[in-house]
Amino acid sequence: MFKVIERQKLASTITLLKLRSPEIAKKVRPGQFVIIRLHEEGERIPLTVNDFDREGGSITIVFQEVGKTTKLLGRLNVGDAVADLVGPLGRHTEIEKFGKVICIGGGVGTAVIYPVTRALYQAGNEVTGIVGARSKDLLTFVKEMEAVTQRLIVTTDDGSMGRHGLVTDPLKEMLQGGEKIDRVIAIGPAVMMKFVCKTTEPYKVKTIVSLNPIMLDATGMCGVCRVLVDGETKFGCVDGPEFDGHKVDFDLLINRLQQYLAEEKISLAAIEG
């Protein structure tokens, strides 16, 4: 069992949990994820790690409550525990001094790009952050991102905070304005990552994305997380989760994410009834 030692409600549907796991905390690096299973009847879900405290022996996850498991996870309180926590999983983000870097976080993806941004900032990069959400209420980690970027741009779809528009808008302007950008890293919904890649592709700016396919064991055994990268089948869990976004078949990824929508509704109805 892995105990919840801190809980914060970041937005109406976004929760932060700090879980005690000294072993994972010791090893995890930005960009890696964990698998959580709540209880004996539970499913295994992947969540990218938001932060870690190596001395304190804990990891932090931030998630949006969308399905049964994330909703139940959001109901946990300090002192409660999850049955299983596996990690660190996947390859960590490549951290180097690239030069000028743009880190883009969409929705709850901002919580996940935060440790990546921090590491890139600490590695001496000149970092611009772009964080966006549907509305102000769903924006998280803005302050934290401000602290680890030279410049932070906030966008909301409804204009309730920052710029009215999408994360791709300021990105496009920078590229069109001839700013020299060495690398873009984007984490968020698949559709957002797809359009970030479409935006940077004509300018040939290397763009890294963190994919979120359906997973089961997440150790390379089942293949449900297969994605097409440069025409080749790769497993999101062990070859990823980060890939060169210009080579990813996003439409296939988006389609594969739909596989269990009907079943997810049934599960959700059971706890909301």
């Binding site: 499913e43 089961l216 089942c222 297969r226 089948t233 062990v238 059971a270």
Partner: protein
Amino acid sequence: MAAEGKEKKKIIPNRVHMAEQPAEDRIKNFREVPLGYTEDEASEEARRCLQCKKPACSTGCPVEIDIPAFISLVAEKKFAEAAKKIKETNSLPAVCGRVCPQEIQCENKCVVGKKGEPVSIGRLERFVADWEREKGKVEPPPKPKPKTKKVAVIGSGPAGLTVASDLVKMGYGVTLFEALHKTGGVLVYGIPEFRLPKDIVQAEVDFVESLGVEIKTNALIGTLHTVPELMENGYEAVFIGIGAGGPMFMNIPGEALNGVYSANEFLTRSNLMKAYLFPAYDTPIKKSKKVAVVGAGNVAMDSVRTAIRLGADEVYLVYRRSEQEMPARIEEIERAKEEGAIFKLLTNPVRIIGNDKGWVTSMECIRMELGEPDDSGRRRPVPVKGSEFIIEVDSIIMALGTNANPLLPQSTPGLTLNKWGYITTDEETCATSIKGVYAGGDIVTGSATVILAMGAGRKAARAIDKYLSGNT
């Protein structure tokens, strides 16, 4: 009995029948198919054994069970003693009695089998293990004198469980690391409930734990800890028994469509995650109408039979060779047929076709004919030109075998692998290229059987003992 013993024993050609769930019932549930012997039936079957002076059966057993000895105890209805006898060399008898391919091992060598049906060694092993468990008379072996040295065993499948129990019985401190949330490896994620009930696997794992093995689940070695780290942290020897792991696909167009699964995914959902009980269990599984399973090994049969139980109307088994070349056990092939599987033999998929929503609708196949024998000695299937045809399906399960999972090897500098990524070991000792590191089971051989993995575990445990005692 005593008087009979002196005479030359008469051969009783036929086995005692074992009751089983009839096909029409069992396709509606996930309960075990064969129901096991009663005490009287077991004893009667045991009396068919000739008690050969030089028993050939035991030489056919990869873990060297003293078969005539335990069978003679069953004949005398000394079941507790029979269990003890088996457990001297096999910590997982309830598993082996069910899933070992006895027909090519012990029973293949049985002298009675030359005149009639061989003695049902597997069924008797299963009976004894079940009797002991159900009677609650599982007796731990005497505690050995503890040794100070510690061994890390990676993977809690058949190989790992065997190494761990053998070494702990010798007095070593043993930690068993498992990446999943449940112990048992392929016994829990791969083999279905109707062939190997999970509470039986759990009982066998509990037994191994009761011997003093420390079990750590959710521990993926290669990321959480590496092999070199384990050795720095007090483990003087390491055994790698992580299984083959990776799923194989055909690399044909359409394999990424929704509705195409690896057998690993399909069976893990159903077995490990209990998706057949969805929504009581959270993990979903698609209940398809027309399913094609590609392949013809035991995993393919397990997939076919699982799909039937999930309620499919038609389940096809698509195989490029003929029935004669099928790698599955005959027993499994027969059961799949009884349960209504439709065999599409000499048939090979060439393309998977989907609808505009990205879901599978059909599979294009080509007919095959058998040509000259290939490297495996089986006749090579060759496509018949222009014979393409379409099978309508809404699910396809690829049961083509597995490949080596590179996660652990990649994090272990100096570990020698063969060209397929499997770990290279010494055949006698299971030693790898790294001093103190041993490996066995599917990660060495590629997909094989439970009992061969256990056999490797036994050998490795002996070699590790020798190594740690300073005798190598």
